[in-house]
């Protein structure tokens, strides 16, 4: 028999290492402006960080709780529009019509500000709504699906369908949403006297702080008891039910937290991009989010984040040329298929495996036979 602390150590070490990696990532993104003094580049990087944030949110619901939400872009888009609406109402009259009506409403012969626009005159309300609306929508949808024990592919298709519906409606209701063009010509975000110019360090830091807080917060959730239960539900939903847990409540929680983070990311995206558009809540974006998450590693929050930053970053670098972009998407499709086939846990899973192999080598761990078996068993399983 082995002394119990010998077994606790590998896990505890792993957890410490994980936390160290997450913290190092946060420090790294804050340090970027020290080395780069180009506002244009910083704006770009801020954009990638935002995309990393929404991929991380998906990892929480998909990688941890097993809810493949193909409509993740909906939460993102709702956040984005919430921010755009308030910033539109804050513009100086040159971009708004008489009576403070947004310009596109004037062009579409809308006479008075619609009721659901009115509260957005307050930025505080908008920031609240940008998180709360996606959260509430996800909670309602989750309640609807999970209370009815809808699982697996049905969840994927239903969330996708809801996204399609929302996208159709936003484009169709041009009078209230700006239709295809989205909401453009926005004011700058101002919170407590602080101005957030899209092309400035302040915006970059805003994004970096939000990402760090969400990332560490999400990490804490995955390490909580609820996080453990999310993973248990992902593995064996039925079994969890027979321990007396209300599985639907847990799934609703996972999905709505994920949606709230995506909503926050959407708001930041509007600040960084200086407009909101229906492409922020369309199917291709949702697909991209899934790809980022899968490539980086769906079961790792940090992996998903970095996956998005790297993939979106490469795409951004190539986007100068139209044919390049098309080729890139082709390559992405191929990589995605390959990852799904051979690397279900993405690059993070690959690193994890390599790391465990390294840790095992010197004199093997105190755990003796167990971890050694553990590795081979794990591998065998991953390949099935």
């Amino acid at each position: 028999m082995f002394d119990s602390s010998a077994h606790a150590n590998p896990t505890r070490n792993r957890n410490r290492l994980q936390l160290a990696l997450y913290l190092a990532f946060c420090v790294a993104i804050f340090a970027v402006p020290l080395f780069i003094d180009d506002d244009f580049l910083l704006n770009r990087y801020a954009r990638y960080l935002v995309l990393g944030m929404v991929a991380m949110a998906l990892s929480l619901s998909w990688g941890y709780a097993g809810i493949l939400n193909l409509g993740q872009a909906l939460s993102f888009g709702l956040g984005s529009y919430a921010m755009a609406m308030t910033l539109k109402l804050k513009t100086v009259p040159i971009h708004t019509g008489p009576d403070g009506l947004p310009d596109f409403m004037v062009w579409n012969n809308v006479e008075t500000l619609p009721w659901f626009w009115v509260p957005y005159q307050s930025t505080a309300f908008a920031i609240f709504a940008g998180v709360a609306v996606p959260w509430a929508l996800a909670a309602i949808l989750g309640w609807f699906m999970f209370r009815g024990r809808i699982t697996g592919v049905f969840v994927a298709i239903i969330t996708l369908a809801i996204l399609v519906v929302a996208n159709l409606l936003v484009i169709d209701q041009q009078r209230y949403t700006g239709g295809f063009n989205g909401i453009t010509d926005l004011a700058q975000l101002e919170i407590l006297g602080l101005e957030f110019d899209a092309y400035s360090k302040s915006t970059y830091f805003l994004v970096a702080s939000c990402l760090s807080v969400c990332l560490l917060g999400a990490l804490a959730i995955t390490r909580s008891k609820a996080g453990l239960i999310f993973q248990a539900i992902r593995d064996q939903e039925e079994r969890v039910r027979f321990f007396g847990y209300d599985v639907a409540a847990y799934k609703i929680m996972a999905m709505s937290i994920s949606a709230a983070i995506a909503g926050l990311a959407g708001m930041l995206y509007t600040v960084v991009m200086e407009f909101a558009s229906p492409t922020f809540m369309d199917v291709p974006l949702s697909l991209s989010i899934v790809i980022w998450c899968a490539v980086g590693g769906r079961q790792s929050l940090l992996g998903a984040t970095i996956g998005a930053i790297v993939v979106a970053g490469m795409q951004g670098a190539l986007s100068e040329s139209e044919t390049f972009l098309d080729t890139w998407m082709l390559v992405m499709g191929l990589i995605f298929v390959l990852v799904v086939l051979f690397l279900p846990n993405g690059l993070a899973g690959l690193l994890d495996m390599a790391g465990r192999r390294l840790m095992r080598r010197p004199g093997a761990l105190a755990g003796g036979p167990a971890p050694a078996k553990g590795l081979s068993g794990q591998k065998a399983k991953d390949q099935t």
């Binding site: 008891k225 609820a226 239960i229 755990g367 003796g368 794990q378």
Partner: protein, 248 residues
């Protein structure tokens, strides 16, 4: 002995097929009851009915005097009934400790659990449980590395972590080697008296090692009840099993 579980007139049909039909069964506190019967006799379905996986169409299930027949699964679980399924179902990607942690469900609300650490203060207790089913060496290993037998034992430990008073075991020794079967019998014997246990099993050798009272099911109803000797002498039981490999 006080009555722990009382089943009366229980019945369920699938597309007109009576899988369980007018079943009466009564189990005392702390008793270990074996439930045997040929394939398709309705043993698994009976356990499904008790733990709420399947809704009964007729009859009543009283647990400590309380009617539980139509409660949702999670309420039945919280009332103190734990179930091991025929197909081993542990959380393969979680470690043994984490598996036990999930099963150890004092607090079930998502709102409190999101604020609680996934590594509870009762880690010691969980380690004792792992030791009880001889899984100490694997405490921090993912459940996916466990052998078939070890997975079954982990499942039993999960029911103990859950602190169920009534434990339903569906074929705990299926597919095990002789030695593993011995060990499972040993575990069951050590649980006698502390928990009320219903074991569904095919392997008569195993049943002999653990049984107090055996109930025989056939075509959804109770055929007879008695000690191992009594039932293996019974003519009806022999007929039911005729041609099967049970070797009564």
């Amino acid at each position: 002995m006080t009555e722990h579980l009382h089943i009366e007139g229980l019945g369920v049909e699938f597309n007109g097929f009576k899988a369980v039909n007018d079943l009466n069964l009564s189990v005392a506190q702390g008793e270990l009851r074996c439930l045997i019967g040929p394939n398709g006799a309705g043993k698994t379905t009976t356990l499904d009915l008790i733990c709420g996986k399947t809704r009964p169409m007729h009859g009543s299930i009283r647990y400590r005097g309380r009617e539980i027949a139509r409660l949702p699964e999670f309420q039945i679980a919280r009332a103190g009934i734990g179930r091991k399924f025929q197909v081993p179902s542990v959380f393969r990607q979680l470690t043994v400790r984490e598996n036990l942690e999930v099963a150890h469900c004092k607090h079930i609300s998502v709102y409190t659990n999101i604020l609680r650490s996934g590594r509870s203060a009762e880690s010691d207790g969980l380690e004792k449980l792992a030791a009880f089913v001889d899984l100490s060496d694997y405490f921090e290993a993912p459940a996916s590395v466990l052998s078939h037998g070890q997975t079954q034992w982990l499942e039993i430990a999960l029911l103990l972590a859950q602190d169920s008073e009534l434990i339903l075991l569906d074929e705990p020794a299926a597919g095990m080697t002789h030695q593993e079967t011995q060990k499972t019998a040993d575990i069951c014997n050590r649980l006698k008296g502390k928990h009320t246990i219903i074991v569904v099993e095919h392997d008569m050798g195993f049943v002999r090692q653990i049984a107090q009272v055996v109930s025989v099911m056939h075509q959804g109803t109770l055929l007879m009840e008695g000690t191992v000797e009594e039932i293996s002498r019974d003519q009806r039981v022999r007929e039911v099993y005729l041609g099967s490999t049970l070797g009564i």
